[in-house]
């Protein structure tokens, strides 16, 4: 899991780093590269925002903060809709922590609703099907032209080097770690099947049920997002290529082969 997460984290550029790298990215990969970097940035911010909303700081329920974060999420979702890159999003299973401060201020469910409706196969209560959806999303990737020596993996450095100085991901890690510890495999029914994929599926489901934070699923999706099918302008004829060895590795971990 750690390796998987490390790999997933490695593709997240910090905004300032990404900004610095923009000219280089543009030089190397043209406009398409820039677009991918933008998509990554957007997904990173989206994930941070989700996490902020669902992990309330103790003692400071600031309405202003929540409204601004929620607006950010709405805007990104609108953008995603316009882009046509609409894909299922794992709906946080429980509603956000009830805030007694206000008279029922909630994150706008309609936006989430639309996203979920677009892919009814991603049913929350069935982790396995969620994972299958994930795999379907990852599926088209290996058919991309092989990267060979040109394996850009754009703005990030090597996974380990990136991790060591990445404050951003500390939080993600912390959250995922806790939920992993919270998750007790013995209590879940499907753990009797010992194949790797089933175990991971349960784990993923378990996390999503227990902790309403950004889970590995979101990360997987975010990883998949810039590269997969529904965004043809990026995927088909762009010079940009993904480090397939890393993706293979993710598949390896996911499928447990």
């Amino acid at each position: 899991w750690c390796r998987l997460l490390a790999l997933l984290m490695s593709v997240y550029p910090r905004e300032d780093e990404a900004t610095e790298l923009l000219p280089a990215v543009e030089f190397m990969f043209g406009k398409a590269g820039l677009e991918v970097s933008y998509t990554l940035q957007r997904q990173t911010i989206f994930n941070i925002s989700l996490m902020k909303l669902y992990t309330q700081r103790p003692g400071e329920p600031s309405l202003q903060r929540r409204v601004l974060i929620n607006n950010m999420l709405r805007r990104i979702q609108d953008e995603l809709k316009q882009d046509g890159t609409l894909r299922p999003l794992l709906l946080p299973p429980s509603p956000p922590p009830d805030d007694p401060l206000d008279e029922g201020y909630r994150q706008a469910p309609p936006t989430f609703g639309v996203l979920v409706q677009s892919q009814p196969s991603a049913l929350l209560m069935e982790p396995a099907s969620v994972l299958q959806a994930e795999l379907r999303l990852l599926d088209p990737l290996p058919t991309l032209p092989s990267g060979g020596s040109l394996s850009p993996d754009p703005p990030s450095s090597s996974p380990s080097g990136f991790l060591s100085d990445l404050a951003l991901d500390d939080v993600l890690f912390a959250d995922i770690d806790t939920s992993m510890y919270d998750f007790d495999p013995c209590t879940t029914t499907t753990t009797s099947t010992t194949t790797g994929s089933a175990a991971i599926a349960t784990a993923v489901g378990g996390i999503s049920k227990i902790a309403p934070v950004v889970t590995a699923d979101d990360l997987i999706k975010s990883l998949a997002s810039p590269y997969n099918g529904p965004a043809p302008q990026v995927s088909s004829n762009q010079p940009f290529k993904i480090d397939l060895t890393e993706l293979d590795h993710i598949m390896e971990v996911l499928v447990g082969s």
Partner: protein
């Protein structure tokens, strides 16, 4: 004319003194005067200063902290044998203004933190101020007592009332001098009118009413009446899911008692006229600067959210602070500010990290000097910034214990923005984002400023050449 400071002129060369544009026209430098608060590295949460405010004469300076306390400092007259030193501020009165409470209906803790203090104009020997936490506003009277009445014959020596039938003579008590005692007593408590967190209070120029603003509503109070207030703005949508904007600050006009402004999280300011209607949901003026498409980013809305709004003393202008800049607006021009000053533009490339660690939601305040010719606001790393509106100069200064020798001149600081870091410059990456100056105050007449840095209050003054 829009004045956008260019990145390269964040500070002046060290040899050019910063003029705060005082009427005398003297150029001067800022020098250290005093620092209040413990030196201890371990800062108790309760000791963190949450608001700073001079009274109308500048004789008193009040601070509020997260522990619900109000500390008032008084300006001591300058001593004759040290004429170069203008007087110091010493503790005048300390009192517990608010206590932590628990709302049992909503199962919610109400912090004692003092969000704002506002002085009332002085009417008699006593001083009055309003202090507020998230929910409750209190009117405090601060008065001196240096005499006590002696010689009553209505009570025993141990204080019990005597039987009136056994008192046969009328004895007039005598006032005897005693040590000076400063008393703070709560005179009015304005409670139960705000569902959301109060972010602003502002005393009206009629000296009889004041307004209080929370995230979604603004109420108008009479200073004498605690059991009712008038709701003058309500932006709460019927369906809270449609909520996209909150009120971030509000203030009464300094001279026209029917006019007030409030700012929003979308970077706009609305000016309302209470004569137009009882409920000022429809603004009279709407101040908004069109977004610059070239600097648009995911964080555009968050960084445009206004954290403070202040009318100039003259009442002609108002100043707003957003995350990266301070803007001065002419009340007669709604479509753009007349002046824009960059406070810490170098943070623009760090917005994602600042979003992630929540610093982007920090609420920096701003203030005018007495003659409206200069403005001041805070930044990170215990830096604060001043902008001279006449000379267009700006300066970055630091509130630190290292330069806190008496009358030591404050050295201008500079943050290097990309490229090579010069000597005496600090790089953006080494800024300490835990040391932030959110609250500052400028003496209404003199060039004396109070700067709150975590649990310390720094007082600086000009050094006349």
């Amino acid at each position: 004319m829009i004045l956008v400071r260019d990145k390269q002129c964040h500070t002046l060369p060290n040899d050019v003194p910063f003029s705060a544009g005082v009427a005398s026209g003297n150029d001067f430098q800022w020098c250290f005067s005093q620092v209040k608060g413990a030196i201890d590295e371990d800062v108790a949460e309760a000791d963190i200063i949450s608001t700073v405010e001079f009274n109308y004469s500048g004789e008193l300076l009040a601070t509020g902290d997260k522990g619900g306390r109000v500390v008032i400092f008084q300006h001591e007259q300058e001593s004759k044998n040290r004429p170069h030193l203008r007087g110091e501020y010493n503790v005048y009165s300390t009192f517990q203004s608010h206590e932590p409470e628990f709302d049992y209906l909503k199962s919610l803790e109400i912090e004692e933190k003092i969000n704002k203090i506002r002085w009332l104009p002085q009417q008699n020997a006593a001083h009055f101020l309003l202090s507020t936490n998230d929910k409750t506003i209190k009117l405090w009277k601060i008065s001196e007592r240096d005499k006590r009445a002696e010689g009553y014959n209505l009570k025993d020596e141990d204080g019990r009332l005597r039987d009136p039938f056994r008192i046969t003579a009328l004895r007039v008590p005598v006032l005897m001098p005693m040590d000076l005692m400063v008393e703070a007593s709560p005179r009015r408590i304005f409670a139960n009118a705000h569902t959301y967190h109060i972010n602003s209070i502002s005393v009206n120029s009629d000296h009889e009413t004041y307004l209080s603003a929370d995230d979604l509503r603004i109420n108008l109070w009479h200073l004498e009446i605690t059991d009712r207030s008038f709701n003058i703005v309500d932006i709460k949508p019927a369906n809270m899911e449609e909520l996209t904007e909150v009120i971030t600050a509000a203030e009464c006009h300094p001279h026209q008692c029917n006019v007030f402004v409030y700012s929003s999280s979308k970077g706009t300011i609305r000016l309302c006229d209470m004569r137009a209607a009882a409920l000022c949901d429809r603004h009279s003026k709407f101040f908004e600067e069109p977004e610059d498409p070239s600097s648009r980013s995911f964080f555009s809305e968050i960084i445009s959210s206004i954290s403070d709004v202040k009318f100039s003393h003259s009442g002609r202008y108002m100043m707003t602070r957003d995350y990266l800049s301070v803007k001065v607006w002419d009340l007669n021009m709604e479509n753009r500010p007349v002046e824009t000053y960059q406070v810490h533009e170098y943070l623009r490339s760090k917005l994602c990290s600042l979003y992630e660690n929540d610093c982007i939601f920090d609420k920096f305040e701003c203030c005018w000097n007495g003659s409206d010719s200069a403005i001041m606001t805070g930044s990170y790393n215990n830096f604060f910034r001043m902008f001279d509106r006449n000379t267009r100069r700006d300066i970055t200064l630091e509130a630190s214990r290292e330069s806190s020798k008496p009358r030591a001149t404050l050295k201008p600081r500079k943050v290097s923005t990309g490229g090579k870091r010069k000597k005496d410059e600090i790089s953006v990456d080494s800024l300490d984002f835990n040391k932030k100056i959110l609250h500052t105050a400028w003496h209404p007449k003199d060039n004396v400023i109070a700067v709150a840095a975590t649990n310390n209050l720094y007082i600086f003054q000009d050094k006349i050449n």
